[in-house]
Amino acid sequence: MSFLFKGVDFFPHDTRWKIIERRYIFIGISWALAVLAAVLLMTRGLNYGVDFKGGSLIEVQSKGAIDIGDLRSRLDRLGIGDVQVQAIAQAVGSGSGALIRVAQQVPTKDLSEEKVQAAANDKVKGALGADLEVRRIEIVGPTVSSELKRTGVIAVVASMFGILLYVWFRFEWQFAVAAILALSHDVFITVGMFSLLWYEFDLSVVAAILTLAGYSINDTVVVFDRIRENLRRYKRMPLIELLNLSINETLSRTVLTSVTTALAVLALYIFGTAVIHGFSFAMLFGIIIGTYSSIFVAAPFLLLFGVKREWGGTAAAAPAKSDAAGKPRRENVPTK
């Protein structure tokens, strides 16, 4: 029963995996994923939700099963342009649900955008039948959708820029640039994943991507922190070896911290309603890709840019106060 008191140290330590030496493999994988994402985004684009595309979204629920095909053909006959119907998962015991998306309607001479869209929604509601209950309606006009798109892009760029400045301030420019490249890699591949799976891309997904940006950098910073610590300690160790050592030393932390957050997000993904499905998927995927990039992508970039080797005790001494003042922890340098 001693594990109840001490826990189980199940993660392998003192690994000396030659990650940096094999960097070309990982860089290759990352490039392949990035190119795939780029191709997908260019050819297929994203399945924009009502937030970004405009138009309306109607969520319906039925006690029994919904015949999606039948509903679709009924709505197609209304003559209101493109209508998409998609079955969605419901909480256990509350029947079945569907999402209906009505495209942005073209305003006519006497009817404004607002009125035309409302009329189309009324037609849909009229065609639903008695057994379907409307649970949610979202109507987003063209001005708002284009604004949301713009602020979404600005938000992602602004937060990345803020992170860049912070990492630059706390470390060196090489760290900042490497971190941002790793981060862009995560964001880009996650967006590509949404294109591949054709999941709806809406405001909540943008929120997830912003969080992912903050979170993925979190892991990277832990590794960078150790690199900086080791740079101070082993002044003459070759950079490749030093990066490798730092990544290996922090491997258990990087992976375990991701596991705890992933556990929480997994619960959201499994039990959340349709409203936050896209969000939790983006977070879950982002945690995985973010952990990958923190281990395999960020440090190789650092190797590419080179780093300053003269770390004094003064620069950013706060995190390692006892270290800077005291003697080195280990006399025997673990080289292998």
Binding site: G7, I137, A155, I163, S204, N218, V275
Partner: protein, 551 residues
């Protein structure tokens, strides 16, 4: 790092108790909390519309209307001012968003310029500072003076208009019997209306979709609208179209006799002869006087009642109306009469409002979302707790207690600052549970590493906390930056998420470095005098000999 003064310990424990005190009210019904004694906190976390059900409407104001209105008023003012100064005008017109005043005599230009410059006002106020004048008045060729509104002046008018519109919308929404509606300004020219519990938005949209500007005009005594159409309306007159029904268009004096804002009351009623729905109204003092004076001099002539620039009726004045009350008939239905009465009573909107975004959530979906959010939080919490205890044993337990207190703090702060809990907000909390233990994972892994490198248990804990501190601050601050950007730029769902995320990050750092650490310190004190065992299982490197360390 392993020393807490007594006062610090008391402060930390106190902070937790205060946190509990502020969270407790949120778990009780509002009515129950209202009866609690004054010294306990009453603030509750309010639920967002996505959780309790309701309608969210984003309205955009037609700023072009505001500009047009202002130009109309300015034109009248310019005309009156020059007339008072006895300066002859040949014409006053509006073109390209500016007023062109053509003087009868070019020699008057300088005097007219001086007069018209007097129309300009300072924009801004004492608090924000003055941003210059609201009008640009200059001389053009051939005795023409051009008055152009400045951008600052227009912004100022839009700001005033939106504040007035918010008041009007609030009164109109209140008339529907909804009590909890929230009406706030968003951006420079938008209004956000949130009505909990509302499912069918059509009546509300009808009510706020009309400006309901009621004016009473003098009809041109001799010229009819058809004649005016053929030639040209005389100065000061304009052709107003009839309303959708049978009313004919009319040639009316542009400056109204009385405006709707001088109405005191308006109510739906039935005409006693025709039994048609009508609206009865009374003017306030000055309105009644103006209307009385006008009707006294115009007996036997028609006047026009104009709603939103359309003639709704043009009765003939039989007697002077001195009592200040009257009625409007205009082929209303019971519903439209009722609606118009509400609109008239609540005053006109300064400009037209369009619904540009609408989100309606049913109560049942909201309830499902709450349940789903709770389930996700509980399952996620248990999974994380199980993992932490498995991996770190007693230190894992401390971390879990820390994470629980972190959630408590987030909820307490939300209650205190009066922020709203939304579904994305719940997601943010669930996410920060994962991140809260993150900090502890960092600390514990660091302790483990220090143990492996041969430190004594106490020294390992000490170094673990102090070394991990910088890393945690760095890594959490980056997420914090992303959260701040979300809060700054985001609206609706993103903002709700950003609130819990940023709050969560702050409390995470606090709990990891006070609560979890304090628990470790208490545990170490409890161990005093005994052999302190390493608090974490670790695999020593092959070269290192294991053994208990005495303190």
């Amino acid at each position: 790092m392993l020393h807490f003064t007594r006062w610090k310990q008391i402060a930390i424990v106190l902070s937790v108790l205060v946190g509990i005190a502020f969270v407790v009210p949120s778990f009780f019904a509002k009515e129950t909390v209202a009866n609690w004694p004054w010294f306990v906190p009453h603030q509750q976390i309010s639920l967002g519309l996505d959780l309790r059900g309701g309608a969210h409407l984003l309205l955009s104001m037609e700023t072009a209307d505001v500009r047009k209105d202002w130009l109309d008023t300015l034109r009248d003012d310019a005309r009156r001012r020059l007339r008072d100064a006895k300066i002859g005008i040949s014409s006053v017109g509006i073109s390209n968003g500016a007023i062109q005043v053509r003087l009868a005599k070019i020699e008057d230009s300088d005097a007219a310029l001086k007069e018209l410059r007097g129309l300009a006002q300072q924009t801004g106020d004492l608090i924000r500072g003055f941003a210059g004048t609201d009008l640009d008045v200059r001389k053009a060729e051939g005795g023409v003076i051009v008055i152009t509104p400045t951008e600052a002046g227009l912004q100022h008018r839009i700001t005033d208009a939106i504040s007035a519109a918010i008041e009007t919308v609030r009164r109109r929404v209140d008339f529907t019997g909804t009590t909890e509606a929230q009406i706030v300004r968003q951006g420079s020219d938008r209004i956000l209306v949130q009505v909990p519990g509302l499912q069918d938005t059509a009546p509300l949209k009808e009510l706020i979709g009309k400006t309901a500007r009621l004016t009473f005009h003098e009809v041109h005594p001799t010229m009819s609208a058809e004649e005016a159409r053929k030639t040209r309306p005389p100065t000061g007159y304009r052709i107003y179209p009839g309303s959708d029904r049978e009313e004919a268009e009319q040639l009316l004096r542009e400056t109204p006799v009385v405006r709707g804002d001088e109405l005191k009351t308006a109510a739906p009623a039935f005409d006693q002869q025709t039994h048609e729905p009508i609206i009865t109204f009374t003017f306030n003092g000055s309105g009644a006087r103006k209307f009385g004076d006008f009707t006294k001099t115009h007996v036997g002539m028609p006047f026009a009642i104009v709603l939103d620039d359309k003639v709704i009726s043009a009765p003939v004045i039989r007697d002077a109306i001195l009592g200040g009350s009257g009625q409007i008939s205009g082929s209303f239905t019971v519903e439209t009469a009722n609606q118009l009465a509400i609109q008239l009573r609540s005053g006109a909107l300064p400009a037209k409002l369009t619904v540009i975004e609408e989100r309606v959530v049913g109560a049942s979906l909201g309830q499902d979302s709450i349940e789903a959010g709770k389930l996700a939080a509980v399952v996620g919490g248990i999974a994380v707790a199980a993992f932490m205890i498995f991996a770190y044993g007693l230190l894992g337990v401390f971390a879990v207690i820390g994470a629980a207190i972190h959630v408590l703090f987030v909820l307490a702060i939300m209650a205190v600052i009066g922020s709203t809990m939304t579904l994305p907000g719940i997601a943010g909390i669930v996410l920060t549970i994962g991140m809260a233990v993150d900090a502890n994972v960092l600390i514990n892994e660091r302790i483990r590493e220090e143990l492996r490198h041969g430190r004594t248990p106490i020294s390992a804990i000490e170094t673990g906390f102090s070394r991990a501190y910088g890393t945690i601050i760095d890594s959490q601050l980056t997420t914090f930056i992303a959260g701040l950007v979300m809060f700054w730029l985001g609206s609706g769902p993103i903002r709700g998420f950003a609130v819990t995320l940023t709050l969560g990050i702050m409390t995470t750092v606090y709990t990891a470095f006070t609560i979890s650490r304090l628990l470790v310190v208490w545990w170490l004190n409890y161990q005093k005098g005994r052999k302190v065992e390493a608090p974490l299982a670790y695999k020593p490197p092959p070269s290192w000999k294991t053994g208990g360390v005495r303190t």
